[in-house]
Structures are given as C-alpha cells and as structure tokens.
C-alpha cells in the first residue's frame, strides 16, 4: 500500500505539469512518436521534451521502444486511467454532496413558501 501511495504521488506530479500534459496530448494524437518529432510540434527544445518523457516514463505513463537508432514513445493508457480514476472519484463525491445540498435547500425553500400560506389559512 505504501508503495502504491508513493507511486501515485509521482503520478500526480507527472501530470500536474502543463508541458507534460501537452507531451501526453501529442503522444495520444500521434499514437507513437520520437523525441524529435514531438519537439517539432511543441514550443520547447528537444532536450526539454526528453526530460519530460523521462519523467513520464518513470511513472509508467509512457513507454519507449528502441527501433534502430531511435526510441519511439507511446502512452500507456492504463496508467492514464489510474490518474483519471482518482480525479473522477473526487468529482463524484462532489456530485453527491451537491445533490444533497440541492435537496436540503429546495426543502428549506419549499417550507418557506408554504409557511405564509398556512399562516393566512389559520388567521
């Protein structure tokens, strides 16, 4: 469990960086790509892309495969889903809380509307 927590922290840190999200987006778009082709489509240097890929690779979000002299990278969707899943759970908790707030507020509001009428009827 402790290992899983450490892994997830690294995962969060990896996707928290906007440039890395752009690298992920570009990889998802291309299916697979080399550091050089990714750098061509992004406003950062090849070295910067290589660093971002290394971070993403370390947390398992991307995997590289060597072909001759170049390494082709691709997204590992199952890891991306882990990150998405954790965020989705937080979102779902807020959906439940908001639904409860709605029920409470609407019942308070309904009581406030009925009360004056009841008062009038008893007068």
């Amino acid at each position: 469990m402790a290992t899983a927590v450490v892994e997830d922290d690294a995962l969060w840190a990896a996707v928290a960086d906007p440039t890395r999200r752009r690298v992920l987006d570009a990889l998802l778009e291309h299916g697979q790509a080399t550091t050089t082709t990714l750098a061509e489509g992004l406003p950062v240097t090849r070295q910067a892309v290589a660093k971002h890929l290394a971070v993403l690779n370390r947390v398992g979000l991307v995997a590289g495969r060597r072909r001759g002299r170049e390494v082709r990278y691709a997204v590992r969707p199952e890891r991306l889903d882990d990150a998405a899943e954790a965020m989705a759970r937080v979102a779902a908790q807020w959906d439940k809380r908001l639904a409860r707030i709605k029920r409470l507020a609407e019942s308070v509001q309904a009581e406030a509307r009925i009360d004056p009428q009841q008062r009038r009827r008893t007068q």
Partner: protein, 160 residues
C-alpha cells in the same frame, strides 16, 4: 483548469440566501458533508469537520477530524475554504486543498458551482488519500470531470 482540480455545478430551485445557509451553517453542513461540523462563515476562521464511525466516512474505527480554514465568505455569493492540512499547521497551497463555492442567482433559483483544487497536495499520506479515494457507493465512473473525460476518451482512442 489545473490537472488536480475538479469543477462541478448544479441548479438549485432555491434562493441564494437559502443555498448560502445550507453550505455554511454547521447544522446544515452535517446533513450533506461531514457528520459533525464546527465552522463559522468568516474569513480566516478555523474549524473542524468530523466523520464518525458508521457515518458518511464509511467503515472507520475512530472519529476522523479534518481541519478547515475559511478563506473567503461573501454572503450569498462566495464561500471558500482550505481543508485537509496537517493538524496544528496553517493551511497553504502545498499542504491543503482549496474548495471554492460560488452562488449565481438565476431566474428560477441558484446555480451552485464548486471547484476543488490542490488535490494532489492532500493525497500524500495514506489516511487522507483513503479519505479522498474511498468511495463506498458505486457509480462514480459515470461522473468524470471534463478534463478527465477528455483524457480518458483520448486514451481509449489510443488503445485502438
């Protein structure tokens, strides 16, 4: 939107004044959020949210007490707080998550919007992570946030 933030909204058929009461009064908070709440809707006010065994916190053995500090309280419009910072420490952006409610009056009620950000700051220790990720009710997968919906659909596309 930051990678570690979620945004949700709902239309409520009640006035902003009524909705404000539900989201800020301790006796109401305990009906939708924690099992007990000590909170005051005033900027910089410190309080606590408590989840009890058998309550909304699920199968806990002990009370789970979570610190909360109000950041902004503008009646009927804005209510924000930081939470999940370590006990005794002041909350900041590295050790707590920020929850921001905004209330917008509409023709037939109030649109209530909530943004929680800095979630990765509070998922470092196992207990708070469990609190965030523990979800005893099913169906969460239907409610992907916008960003994650996007990421997930793209990743599914990449699998094919």
């Amino acid at each position: 939107m930051a990678a570690d933030s979620v945004e949700r909204a709902i239309l409520i058929e009640a006035s902003p004044e009524v909705v404000w009461g539900v989201i800020t009064e301790p006796e109401q908070i305990s009906r939708w959020f924690s099992d007990e709440a000590e909170v005051e809707a005033r900027a910089s006010a410190d309080g606590t949210l408590t989840w009890k065994p058998g309550g909304r916190g699920g199968e806990k053995q002990f009370d789970s007490i979570v610190p909360i500090r109000v950041v902004e309280a503008e009646p009927f419009r804005q209510f924000s707080f930081r939470w999940n910072h370590p006990e005794g420490a002041g909350p900041d952006e590295n050790n707590s998550a920020l929850v921001e409610f905004s209330l917008i009056e509409e023709a037939n009620g109030t649109r209530l919007r909530v943004v929680e950000s800095g979630i990765d700051a509070v998922t470092h220790d196992e207990e708070s992570k469990a609190r965030y990720l523990e979800d005893h009710e099913h169906g969460w997968e239907k409610h992907l946030g916008e960003l994650l919906d996007y990421l997930a659909s793209k990743s599914r596309g990449a699998t094919r």
